[in-house]
């Protein structure tokens, strides 16, 4: 993943800035009234998210995922270590021009409508007045809330709030998206929609740093993952490298006759060092089954195509 390049003029080796660069991050939350004592939430974490990568941070509750994200966004102060976004110290406010953040289970101002919410965040990012309405329309369309844009958030479902959260995160066209449990509490259709959106954003070259409990989704969308436990990264790497079983091989056939399968079995049996582990039909996922049964799969595929067109930055 190194993007090192030689500088001809200076003769030194410089690295192109990564989307996220965390070095030796440690966070201790002090305990009130107990001087010198505290809770170690993050313990000497190093983490990189390459430009255009989707990085998934997974770990049990209380393992330090959200604290790392908050430290990256300047919401908590690191006890030690550094956090950078595209090479810029992330404690500097200007670094946040490049970041969109969706917190876990976000609650926005209930008195605002969906459109007002997106416009509010557009104003915070300094969008000019003529761009605010245009961008608001575009994002409501993108997250599938165009029809609900004039309704107050007090009447939104959890999934709708999550999607309006995504819309506000994308409002200034950030180069990095930080998503904390983006599909928490969302039904399978909404979850699939968000997943497709992440794919679509990745296609546009947006770097994504997410944490989730839904390991299957992380596996589907992420290029790299880090597993965090008790504040420490215990495994880290490209997802294909981490999950592949090196001493096993997979051959997937379509319309194979029983005779062919028997021949394959016989061939394997002839090899003394090889063992046939399993032969049978591959299983679909419960998610696919649900989407097919509820007739939502087609809608999701279609909307994903629509989203792809409407979110094209060009």
């Amino acid at each position: 993943m190194s993007q090192a390049e030689s500088s001809a003029t200076t003769g030194t080796v410089t690295s192109a800035p990564k989307a996220v660069e965390i070095r030796s991050l440690t966070k201790v939350f002090p305990l009130p009234w107990k001087k010198g004592k505290g809770v170690l939430a993050v313990d000497d974490v190093d983490l990189d998210v390459g430009v255009g990568d989707v990085y998934g941070l997974i770990g049990p509750n209380g393992s330090g995922k959200s604290t790392i994200m908050k430290a990256l966004l300047g919401l908590v102060n690191p006890t030690s270590g550094t956090t950078r976004i595209f090479g810029q110290d992330s404690t500097e406010v200007t670094s946040r021009r490049d970041v969109g953040y969706l917190p876990e289970n976000p609650y926005f101002y209930k008195h605002l409508t969906g459109a007002e919410t997106v416009r509010f965040y557009a104003q915070l990012c300094g969008l000019k007045r003529r761009d605010q309405s245009e961008r608001t329309e575009e994002l409501l369309e993108l997250v599938g809330l165009k029809d609900a844009g004039s309704r107050r958030l007090a009447g939104y479902s959890k999934g709708m709030l999550q999607r309006i959260g995504l819309a506000q995160a994308l409002v200034q066209r950030p180069r990095l998206l930080v998503l904390d449990e983006p599909t928490a509490g969302v039904d399978p259709v909404g979850s699939r929609r968000i997943r497709d959106l992440i794919f679509n954003l990745k296609k546009q070259g947006i770097s994504i740093f997410l944490c989730s409990h839904l390991l299957e989704q992380v596996q589907q969308v992420c290029d790299r993952v880090g597993i965090i436990h008790r504040g420490r990264i215990v495994r880290e790497g490209a997802i294909e490298d981490l999950i592949s079983i090196e001493d096993q091989s997979e051959v997937l056939l379509r319309n194979a006759s029983p005779e062919l399968l028997e021949s394959i079995k016989a061939l394997v049996a002839a090899e003394s060092a090889t063992e046939l582990v399993r032969i049978g039909n591959p299983k679909t996922t419960l998610e696919h089954l649900f989407l097919k049964a509820t007739g939502s799969g087609r809608d999701v595929e279609e909307s994903a195509e629509d989203l792809s067109e409407s979110s094209d930055p060009s």
Partner: protein
């Protein structure tokens, strides 16, 4: 899934964004406008019905008494309720905002945008001030209208009687004096100066409550402590006079000086008593109060920023 980031074309930020002062103003005003809308949509302006009703009832009181008493009572009641509502809006409005933003995690989504904590606090403060100012303006309009009606009702018979007698006669002079007294107690610039002093009290209270809410753990704490500070501040001049003029010990004197420094002297802001009595309020005094309020507001906001700047949310 590809692991190569080199193959991905990196999008350039293509948004045409504001820069410099227009950007700062845009952010502060967006937060202020949102805060104002948030408070207004809590249906706070229903209190105006209560205020109108109070003035209507107060207008009927002391119907048979002298005009001085009648007008003074009416103005006292009006100013009293204006101060009460302003105090409630300033303290409760400010106390509600930051803890709720933290609790609802709305603060995360705001502070992870390119918004400084100072811009956030200033926006919140200006939103509360807009609410305090607008509600006071509405109350002032109702109060001024009602006072004008009262004044005209009292003035009418006096002017009629005055017109019926020669101006130089003893009765004519008496009627003229009476008409002047009614005008002095009626609607005039002094009345508005009294309202302005209430606004200044509200501005200082809102800044103080904002400071409290930056480290408070609950709205209840901010409201309770805010009200206590208001009461202590209101009576601190009495305490100061008592301790400093008497032969009390050094500790008492030190304490009273400390109280005077920390708690604003809200009694000093209370020009509405003078306005209710028809006393002339000098412009210089009003300017001094504006300056004093500004000093308190700036100091409270700066300290609030210092507390909030490193707060982990």
């Amino acid at each position: 899934m590809s692991n190569s980031s080199a193959a991905v074309s990196q999008p350039e930020p293509s948004m045409d964004l504001k820069k410099g002062l227009p950007l700062v103003l845009s952010k502060v005003l967006a937060i202020a406008r949102n805060t104002f809308t948030q408070l207004v949509r809590m249906k706070v302006f229903y209190f105006l019905f209560a205020f109108s009703l109070i003035l209507l009832v107060a207008g009927f009181f002391f119907a048979d008494t002298q005009f001085e008493q009648k007008l003074k009572f009416f103005k006292d009641i009006s100013y009293g309720f204006m101060l009460l509502f302003t105090t409630i809006f300033a303290i409760v409005g400010s106390a509600l905002l930051i803890p709720r933003d933290i609790e609802d995690r709305t603060l995360y989504t705001i502070l992870c945008k390119p918004v400084t904590r100072f811009e956030y606090l200033l926006g919140k403060y200006l939103g509360v001030i807009a609410l305090v100012g607008l509600s006071l303006l509405f109350m002032d309009l109702i109060f001024s209208g009602a006072l004008y009606v009262q004044e005209q009702r009292l003035l009418g018979p006096v002017l009629e009687a005055q017109a019926a007698v020669p101006a130089e006669s003893a009765a004519g002079v008496q009627y003229a004096t009476e008409a002047d007294s009614i005008r002095k107690l009626g609607l005039n610039a002094n009345t508005q100066k009294g309202v302005l002093s209430i606004f200044l009290t509200g501005a200082v209270l809102a800044a103080m409550a904002m400071l409290l809410s930056t480290f408070a753990t609950s709205t209840m704490f901010t409201v309770t402590v805010g009200l206590c500070i208001f009461i202590v501040g209101y009576f601190q001049s009495l305490a100061r006079e008592y301790f400093l003029s008497g032969s009390e010990g050094t500790w008492q004197k030190l304490l009273s000086v400390l109280v005077a420094l920390i708690f604003p002297d809200f009694k000093a802001f209370h020009l509405s008593d003078a306005a209710a009595s028809g006393e002339l309020i000098a412009n210089g005094l009003l300017l001094q109060l504006v300056g004093l309020a500004l000093v308190y507001v700036v100091i409270y906001n700066l300290v609030a920023y210092l507390v909030f700047a490193d707060k982990e949310v």
